[in-house]
Amino acid sequence: MVRDEAGRLTAALVRLLGDFALAEDLVQDAVVAALRSWPERGVPEDPAGWLLATARRRAIDHWRRQRRYEEKLAQLVREAPPPERADEVDDRLRLIFTCCHPALGREAQLALTLRAVIGLTTPQIAHAFLATETAIAQRIVRAKRKIVAAGIAYRVPAAEQLDERLGEVLAVIYLMFNEGYLATAGPSPDRRDLADDAEWLARLVVRLLPAQPEAEGLLALLRLHRARWAARFGPDGRLVLLRDQDRSLWDREAIAAASELLLGAMRRGRPGPYQLQAAIAACHAEARSWEATDWRQVLLLYDALLRLTPTAVVRLNRAIALGHGVGPDEALAEVERLEPELRHYHLFHATRAELLRRLGRPVEARAADGRALALTRNPAERRLLEERLAASG
């Protein structure tokens, strides 16, 4: 509720006031007030109006201090009614593209998007990233100052830049989702809220900016991952790998709907990395069992993905498919070629361990699992690796 209204309000206020940093601060104050008041007194009948009224009161306080009270107050009173729908679409897109401007670092983009677009408070963001509130507050302040000082325009990018700039937005959403889907560290293995927020934002982008196949591809990808949510953790909080998941817990309806969305995106004839990743996820989601997975298809999709994004992590994932589609020998050779780039990545060692085990080399497998364990802080992943080590010892 707060999420939807806060981003809309920030977007409208930035346009109204022409001051990104101020608008964002005012809405943040209003959101904090809402989180304090709504649980006690109940959600007001008109949440948007409540937030706007609160933000307006804060604005008045601010300008009173600023001694520009009369002039600006007149402006606010005159223009305060909620914006019209057509404006609103542009406002919200402007806000999203400004928060995800490539002149801001990825972490700054993410923190700012969570604050200004999603409406999270600084403590909530700090909690999500296991960072201190001071660190997050500083990151946000620095980003807002840069927007103003460096002259980052508050607008939707021109058509010839749209693909590239949309790519930034999608990267921020995917990072947000992954933080929520399998947090890198910390006491709770997954933080569902961020994944929820990411899916909400992906849906918003698809709605505001129609006919963008990569945005649709990302939304399909997130939904395919989430359709398997119930099967990802055992009753005791243990991480269950794709191969071992109880597929009857998967949300078949959600999988079918996401696949439909993906097909629609692919029919637009502009393939991209998110569509390909979603297609790979769909191959897994539609397979009746691990053994019944169409590995040849998965491998073909990875080949296409590798052409678009030739990274070591994609090669590692392709090697896993190679291990099932072709054989563990070929896969191990490919994995070992990636050592210089990935030796600090826990999944490199875990994948290698898995292949070594299949090849009947348990001593080396054990050593590789040990290295993987030393490289991850995620409690659920640690537990899985510890159990493997215990079983092989």
Partner: protein, 112 residues
């Protein structure tokens, strides 16, 4: 908005290039085109950093040092002052800089 584009290079690497590789005609065309559009406010190529003389103060007394204020491999080898509507436009200008062995740092100017 006014910006200074700092044209950052390794003096050593730049001096090792042939005239053809440096392609001054392309650089001149770049400056000329910006001037023609009314975007350029000034700019210059600088001599190598080893020709620098640095003035600093110690308790009110000025001291001269032979060399740049910081010894680094990459230094500012030139600059261009531009006036454009916003950062996106400044980025576009920076991306059109022809000497791709450089890096271009875009710094917004403080206006007083």
């Amino acid at each position: 908005m006014k910006y200074v584009l700092m044209l950052v290079r390794s003096d050593e690497a730049w001096e090792a290039l042939t005239d053809e590789e440096r392609d001054y005609p392309a650089i001149m065309r770049w400056f000329g085109e910006l001037a023609g559009r009314g975007v350029l406010q000034g700019g210059a190529e600088l001599q190598a950093a080893r020709t620098a003389t640095t003035v600093s103060w110690d308790e009110g007394r000025s001291i001269l040092t032979d060399g740049p204020f910081l010894e680094t491999k990459e230094t500012v080898g030139g600059f261009a002052m531009i006036e454009v509507p916003d950062l996106d436009a400044a980025i576009e200008v920076a991306q059109s800089w022809p000497a791709q062995s450089h890096r271009v740092e875009i710094r917004p100017m403080v206006h007083h």
